[in-house]
């Protein structure tokens, strides 16, 4: 069947150039980057080049990039590492109600096992965190603030520059999960006062299983795992050389294509939104109408449930999700949607469509047609006697 992939927020297909670069490394660069002889130096050089690419993309220094196994590990390293490394008695962590599980569940885990005080700040109906609410939540015991750059389910972009400025004024470390935005949005670490930033390669056409944490010079983080001391002791373990190289190439391509690709995807996004509104008029758009990721569409469709929508669309040849890919299979409505103040029943009918580099107008139109058919069928079958 001719499949249409519209779940680029879950993951993106690996760019061919990335795959080729990785294959070359796997075939030719077998050294351990920690070894002092030529093979080791070659591997080290490959990792260093990738580190430069990733750093350059966010206007950071290569020494500020710590490679990890992905976004989840970057978030864990940021929260656990920063709190573990603190020198004073401050034990407060402030985060938002719409964070990814990698942040919110880590915060809850720290609360239970490390006696960290966690304060969760709410959002408005578009999912925006009010920077002043962060300022109000900060007290003398606050050590770390973690608010994401853009939400993975509803696409809302958060005011991280303002939040970062407040954190800096208050002398609090600021972490932002930028897994959804690096590659899609311009991020300049020289201008945005963020201390820790999570990055994930497979969200920008790189491989799965590799990511990075930006650690601003001077920000103290402690390692979570102990071992050979790689990544300057901040993330020990032999480097995933091929993955890191793939991430570097993917970063370079994403950066080069961003100026044309992001507006193109925003056009496709708006085409999906307009199409859904025309064919399913009672669908409710989730997230901010303007301050949203260029590739994200999120709707709640009354009288349906997300699982049914996804299954039906899958069988029609379309790959979409009901929210975060990490929570699919749950029957409970998403915590993010509930945090917007949505009614539980409505929140169950959530649908996320995220376009990407290969998406075309024609695919979008076919999708809207299929969605319209599926919604009609699901609503009709809800009254079928079984």
């Amino acid at each position: 069947m001719d499949r249409v992939y519209l779940d680029h927020a879950a993951t993106t297909p690996v760019d061919h150039e990335v795959a080729e670069a990785m294959a070359r490394v796997l075939g030719e660069t077998h050294g351990n980057p920690s070894s002092i002889y030529a093979e080791g130096r070659a591997a080290r050089a490959a990792v260093d080049r990738a580190r430069e690419e990733v750093a350059a993309a966010i206007h950071a220094e290569p020494s500020e990039i710590v490679f990890t196994s992905g976004g989840t590990e970057a978030d864990n390293l940021a929260l656990r590492g920063a709190l573990k490394a603190r020198r004073d008695e401050r034990d407060g962590l402030i985060t938002s109600a719409i964070e990814h599980h990698a942040v919110i569940d880590t915060a809850r885990d720290l609360e239970r096992y490390a006696q960290v005080r966690v304060d969760v700040v709410g959002v408005d109906r578009y999912g925006v965190v009010n920077p002043e609410a962060i300022r109000d939540a900060i007290d003398e015991r606050t050590s770390l603030v973690s608010v994401m750059h853009a939400n993975n389910e509803i696409g809302t972009i958060e005011p991280i520059a303002e939040i970062g400025a407040i954190c800096r004024e208050e002398g609090v470390t600021y972490h932002s999960d930028a897994v959804q935005t690096v590659g899609a949005l311009e991020i300049d670490a020289r201008k945005i006062p963020v201390d820790l930033l999570s990055i994930n390669a497979h969200k920008f056409y790189g491989p799965k299983g590799v990511g990075a944490l930006y650690v601003r010079r001077g920000t103290r983080i402690a390692t979570m795992q102990t071992g050979g001391g790689q990544e300057k002791g901040r993330r020990t373990g032999t480097e995933n050389v091929a993955g890191i190289v793939g991430m570097g190439v993917a970063m370079r391509i994403a950066r080069a294509r961003r100026a044309t690709e992001s507006p193109r995807q925003a056009h496709l996004r708006d085409r999906v939104i307009a199409g859904v509104r025309a064919r399913v008029p009672d669908a409710v758009l989730n997230g901010h109408p303007a301050q949203r990721l260029p590739n994200n569409v999120s709707f709640c469709i009354p009288g349906t449930d997300g699982e049914s929508l996804i299954v039906a669309l899958d069988l029609e040849g379309f790959a979409v999700s009901s929210g975060s890919a990490c929570t699919s299979g749950e029957t409970e409505p998403s915590q993010v949607l509930l945090a917007l103040g949505l009614d539980r029943e409505l929140a169950k009918g959530s649908l996320r469509v995220t376009v990407g580099r290969s998406t075309t107008d024609e695919q979008v139109d076919r999708f809207v047609e299929a969605l319209s058919r599926v919604v009609t069928r699901l609503r009709e079958s809800a009254s079928v006697a079984v």
Binding site: A312, S381, V386
Partner: protein, 350 residues
Amino acid sequence: MSGGVDSSVAAAILADRGEDVVGVWMRLVPAGADVDAPRCCGTDEAGEDARRAAAALGIPFYALDYADVFGERVVDRFVNAYAGGETPNPCVSCNQHVKFDALLHDVVRKFGGDRLATGHYARAATGEDGRRHLLRARDPSKDQSYALYMLGQRELARIEFPIGELQDKSETRAIAARFDLPTATKAESMDICFAPGDYRKLVRERAPEAFVPGPVERTDGTVVGTHAGIGALTVGQRSGVGIATGERLYVLHLDTERRAAVVGTRAEIARRRYALTDMRFVSGEPPSSRFATNVVLRYRGIPLAGHVDVDRTHATLDLESPALVAPGQAAVFYDGDEVIGGGVVARHAL
């Protein structure tokens, strides 16, 4: 698809026939739950087996979550029944409330599916009268029709049991091998799926109040000993009553009000007449208000001759010879290989 060989083969038979098949696995325990029930079909591990089987067949596969309904309608009821002195049949509850209610609804409504096929050993056929009939499996040693007696015309119109048509289990395994299904050599499930080993452990954890000691009495009220708790006892059981008289005594009745276990000899406990509740008939109607039938009183039990008098949702069962059955068990009526219907054995007054 449970992850076991039977449902995998059922899917294989349908796919082989050219049907548009989608595999569905039911999560029955919460995700990530620490369950020491390796044979439970609703655990993550079973889900992985089901996923592999679906992949081997090349059919779409979805994991659906029924942990809530299973917990409430099967596990909680099981615990409450034992705590209340009854002997529940959790397979009947699961078929009635989870597989052929919640799942069947989702198959039709979510997937737009026409029919639900399962790996049960039974047969569903359409007769010349246009009605659906429920029959024993071709392999009588595997027959599971007893636990499906509650299915009516509405459900059976949408149900298929491909495995029930097979001659025996070796044919099932041969098909599994032919389709190279990874479940082909898996062991069969034996225990109560959510309470492996001794089910009393679960009842004790969930209903500690049913494990308060009480008196063991004869029918005339003579106290002959003490027992450790109603929750550990089953009507009809011989051992564990905690008495040491010379006679062989069986649990005849569990009085939850007084926490008393009434015991008696085999002659005392075997009865001819039982009250039944929650009557179900496959055709929608009993054959007549009083009818002769062969009744099966336990899973894979021998059919016993008797008469049934139906009064709306209740009935009285009169057996030709005395038999012992615990309240909470299903009484299922057969006409030859065909299931007519059944009901639940009610608690009886002494």
